[in-house]
């Protein structure tokens, strides 16, 4: 129910921001491409948390749980932030809410968290902590811990993607952040893919997939998702520089 309410609230805020910005004569900054991106983010959040995937993730397969985590911690924040980038983000909240927020300590806290090293450290710590088997199993047994876990994923995802999509940060720094995230994710991936014993006792395998194969699949899910999202971002950031070099080749 809470998730439905949050998704509904997100849709409402986004819709009113698009209407307001278009009303000010800037449909170019709130086009249908933005609507499609935000709708995709909401749809993926629904798939992760409200579709049958949720039951598979909680009761059947670790790979399902990993899929859920990469969706809410990576793809959903990336798509949502892509949708609201630019002036649109300032229209998300009504002025009566935005103005006091801008003056509150919350803004300073967010500013501190949005330093690349801080954001990356929080993201990496979140990744490491929630994959400790004992904590992972506790989250599966207690709803409140599970909600906290998912909130942490979403929060950490938004933090790093705000930086990855921030045009004020140089392309090199964003590529470095993406590479650091991939390398860190690769450590977890390797532990999951390269292990021959079941690290998460809550999962026993299902649908004909053994517990160890399920665990290895979970590692592959994370690697493939990171390659797709971070790889696409890096390709977009580097493409103009590669083209520029082709136009103006440096002698060998």
């Amino acid at each position: 129910m809470t998730v439905y309410a949050l998704l509904g609230l997100g849709a409402l805020l986004f819709a009113q921001s698009v209407v307001r910005l278009r009303g000010r004569g800037r449909p170019d900054l709130a086009g249908w491409d933005r609507v499609a991106l935000f709708a995709a983010a909401l749809a993926l959040a629904w798939v992760a948390l409200l579709s049958p995937l949720d039951r598979v993730a909680e009761e059947k397969l670790l790979a399902g749980h990993m899929t859920q985590h990469v969706l809410i911690g990576d793809l959903v924040p990336a798509l949502a932030l892509l949708a609201v980038r630019g002036p649109l983000v300032l229209f998300l909240l009504p002025a009566a809410v935005l103005a006091p927020l801008a003056r509150s300590p919350l803004r300073r806290a967010l500013h501190a968290l949005l330093r690349p090293k801080v954001a990356f450290a929080l993201w990496a710590a979140n990744l490491a902590i929630w994959h400790i088997p004992a904590l992972y199993d506790t989250a599966l047994r207690h709803d409140s811990v599970h909600y906290l876990e998912h909130t942490c994923w979403v929060f950490a995802g938004f933090l790093v993607w705000m930086l990855l999509l921030d045009p004020r940060l140089s392309a090199g720094r964003r590529v470095a952040l993406a590479a650091a995230m991939f390398a860190t994710g690769q450590v977890l991936t390797d532990v999951l893919v390269f292990s021959f014993s079941n690290l998460y006792p809550a999962y026993h395998g299902a649908y004909g997939i053994s517990a160890v194969t399920d665990q290895q699949l979970a590692g592959v899910v994370m690697m493939v998702e990171q390659l797709l999202t971070l790889g696409t971002l890096v390709a977009v950031l580097l493409a103009p520089r590669i083209r520029r070099r082709h136009l103006d080749p440096v002698p060998a």
């Binding site: 140089s170 392309a171 090199g172 720094r173 590529v175 470095a176 590479a179 390398a183 690769q186 390797d190 893919v193 390269f194 021959f196 194969t213 290895q216 592959v220 390659l227 790889g231 890096v234 390709a235 580097l238 520089r241 590669i242 070099r245 440096v250 060998a252």
Partner: protein, 245 residues
């Protein structure tokens, strides 16, 4: 044959000795930095040592996982060390004698064809059943590795293009290791019937081989990508420096 006895690949051993002699000859006129000499020697030792030692005996007669580790060493690490060992003058000489024609867009597919082609089950089994095809397999892997690393080490690629090149190579080459990790039946019939070591079943041997291969490639590629990311940041800082002053 005992697992600890030595096996030799004479042709490749001869090539290693020849490569060492040529380097020493070239170094008389163009003295390399010590780190370059160590890198070159390390590359030769990896090739010469892994193909002419008990590791070769285990790889060619007993365990697939050791063979895959050996292939990773000679295809990924040794060629990079060899090329890093060349001085700028040596690289310029190679460029003047044809190496400048090696373009990234041809080197990458050639390396991938060498990588996947030599690991195709039919070729692999054929290579293992006699002596010279195994040497051919290893020569193809070394040549593929040299081709792959040359556009990077020669400095032909700018930093962004180098990152794209490495990223593509990393992703495109990883499927073989993953296929071996997740396989549930032996892919190479030679090792099904080979005498086992350490109580490993053929499938477990294959799974472990995939793990070793993926771990080795992940390490090599992440280090290389990390180097170019650092270079990208340095270039950005250098470009921004004049505007700050």
């Amino acid at each position: 044959m005992s697992a600890t006895s030595f096996t030799f690949e004479w042709v490749l051993l001869g090539l290693v000795v020849a490569a060492a002699a040529v380097y020493i000859y070239a170094a008389r006129a163009d003295r390399p930095d010590p780190w370059r000499a160590v890198s070159y020697a390390g590359g030769l030792l990896l090739i010469g040592g892994s193909l002419n030692s008990p590791l070769e005996t285990i790889a060619a007669k007993r365990l697939l996982m050791i063979h895959l580790l050996q292939n990773g060493l000679i295809a990924d690490i040794a060629p990079l060390l060899l090329l890093l060992g060349l001085t700028p003058t040596m690289r310029a000489w190679l460029n003047a004698h044809g190496a400048s024609r090696i373009r990234a867009r041809y080197a990458l597919p050639a390396w991938l064809i060498a990588w996947y082609g030599t690991h195709a089950a039919n070729f692999y089994d054929w290579a293992l059943r006699s002596e010279w095809p195994l040497q051919l397999e290893h020569a193809i892997l070394i040549a593929g590795g040299l081709l792959f690393w040359w556009p990077l080490v020669s400095g032909r690629l700018g930093t962004p293009a180098a990152l794209a090149y490495l990223g593509t190579g990393f992703v495109a080459s990883s499927f073989l290791g993953l296929a071996l990790i997740f396989s549930s039946r032996p892919l190479y019939s030679f090792y099904e019937h080979a005498p086992r070591l350490w109580g490993l079943s053929p499938v477990r041997d294959q799974n472990l081989g995939g793990i070793l291969m993926n771990a080795e490639q992940t390490l090599v590629f992440l280090v290389a990508i990390g180097f170019y990311v650092w270079k990208l940041l340095s270039e950005e800082d250098a470009a921004a420096a004049p505007s700050r002053t």
